[in-house]
Amino acid sequence: MQRVSKAKSERLVNLLIMMLSARGYVTKHQIRSTIEGYRHQSDGAFERMFERDKEELRAAGVPIATGSNEPDLDIEAGYRIERSDFELPPVAFTPEELAVLGAAASVWQDSVAAQQTVDALETLRAAGADPDPERLMTLRPRIPAEPGFDAAREALLARREVRFDYRGQPRQVQPWRLSQRRGRWYLLGFDLQRSAPRNFKLSRVTSDVAAVGPTHAYEVPPADELAGLVRFDGDRDGAFAVVALRDQMGGDVRRMAQPATWDHPLPEGFTAWRLESPRPEILAADICELGPDAICLAPQELRDMVIRQLQGIADRWEA
């Protein structure tokens, strides 16, 4: 078993080198008479072996072109590998850059992308660069994956449609882009039932993500167009509030706030701020969470909403 596999690896490497080093296209006939592993095969066995080997090289990413040195003449087609399509272009990194590349090695978590990154760094290593994972131990970003992420990404890269259940509803989507925010993955794609772009939060996908149909089934719009279509939970600033916050207090809310002017007197030690959020309910929750350190000033409907919520809490939980 081991010997068969070794013979095959040897044959594949030699086939690749022959197509890469030839001046023009090499014909099947030339290949058969040159490569040791093919020479003693019967016609049928050679045909099958050669087809499988070509497929295996292509699957490994080897760009095999088909054509003829004399396209005007009706002669047997041949094969070649264009060196510029095959080889990684020259690249050199400084030691500092190699430390950064080394830090990239451990970024992906729980995804096939982790192994793919390691494979990519091996290619750089083979190109003479030596990414150093030890040097920049002080920089450790991590990207966790989620169920469905790997399948969606594989389909996206291959331009295949995917099927999945979203909150229990079946969907068929052309994946356009995967984005992560706050540790959650979102898939932007063209929803085929609704004939419109839609955003899907992967944590709400209730089935496997299954690729369907052929590869290269659709085109993805240009990146600048996509940027305007990606939506996360909590996007779209549809509501605003003017709030008074106790100075030095307010945490995350104050960080998101813009200074505001307020013409009426405020309690001692309070300053006016403007807040924006997708929905008024979120603003009310943000303000209530701050208890006596925040006062909702405007708009009046939001102010009433805050008062109702505070009143409800006081009534329900007062001993």
Partner: protein, 313 residues
């Protein structure tokens, strides 16, 4: 071992070995994540590979006995495969995204940006199709922190915690920058607390490096995924179904759904955090496991209502 795996590795080994003449079998094995026996087996294949015709001098030159006996590899006459194959799309995009996150976390340091630019150049306009947003605060803060980590200098920061806490001014010994769930943190020894703490970078208001240096301490937790790990206290809330989103939004240790209600258990970092959660969730909370937390929330709500005794204008 699938033959495709071996093929991919062989195509990397040939250029690699040409640039590392005399390298040991063990070192190659380590760099390519395989057993030393596999490296020897790979060389056994490669000794019969090379330029076509198969005449002496056309094949790659490697002394397989020296590899087996002395464990060193000298690999020659392989100019035809002097460079590795281009990366596959999924490899190139995985590395690009990882590197973009490193760049973002480093605050766009010069080395990180130039490494990314060179990689993009060599990959030739690949669209990664994946983007990761990191809430990492001001880029200059990250650069200052990285400089302080490298120089082992104590930093003083103005830190605005979440929720109800007012700004604090801790002096810390920074050790590591890290990203968890889309937020960047600095892990630091905090002498005032005699403990490791993680500070979220977007909550740092101001930062400066002091003259004091420090000796890095042992025991920085390797995979502290969040500061909730060491929290012992738990709070269980009974919620109406419309508040099911909280289990997605906050770290929870347990969630159980019934017909009319759901029950969610949270790790509680401080009593104040629990009170803030109750104030935030309002009517959606129908039961609280800790009566003191409920009463404190009622007290805060009443104090807040006092602000609304008069109309705003």
């Amino acid at each position: 071992m699938k033959s495709s795996e071996q093929l991919t590795r062989l195509l990397k080994l040939v250029p690699y070995l040409q640039q590392h003449q005399g390298i040991s079998v063990g070192e190659v094995a380590q760099h390519f994540g395989v057993a030393p026996r596999q490296v020897v087996s790979d060389i056994e294949v490669l000794q019969f590979c090379g330029l076509p015709e198969g005449f002496h001098g056309d094949l790659f030159e490697v002394d397989i006995d020296e590899v087996r006996d002395a464990g060193h590899i000298f690999f020659r006459n392989a100019d035809v495969l002097a460079r590795p194959m281009r990366m596959r799309l999924e490899e190139a995009t995985s590395l690009l995204v990882a590197l973009e996150v490193v760049v973002e976390t480093s605050g766009g340091s010069e080395a990180a940006l130039s490494a990314l630019a060179k990689l993009r150049d060599v990959l030739g306009g690949v669209d990664p199709a994946v983007s990761v947003a990191v809430a990492a605060g001001a880029p200059e803060h990250r650069q200052v922190l990285q400089a302080a980590i490298d120089a082992r200098r104590v930093v003083e920061m103005t830190y605005l915690g979440s929720g109800r806490r007012s700004a604090s001014r801790p002096e810390v010994e920074p050790m590591r920058l890290r990203v968890v769930d889309g937020f960047a943190y600095v892990d630091a020894w905090t002498p005032a607390r005699s403990d490791w703490r993680s500070y979220r970078l977007d909550r740092i208001e101001a930062l400066h490096i002091t003259d004091a240096t420090f000796t890095p301490r042992e025991g920085l937790p390797e995979n502290a995924t969040s500061w909730f790990d060491d929290v012992a206290q738990r709070l269980e809330l009974e919620l109406t179904p419309d508040a099911d989103w909280v289990a997605e939004y906050y770290p929870v240790t347990h969630r159980h759904a019934g017909a009319d209600h759901i029950w969610v258990t949270f790790p509680v970092a401080s009593p104040q955090w629990a009170v803030s959660l109750l104030l935030r969730l309002g009517d959606s909370v129908t039961g609280v496991s800790d009566g003191n937390v409920a009463q404190a929330a009622a007290g805060e709500a009443r104090a807040a209502l006092a602000h609304y005794a008069d109309p705003p204008d």
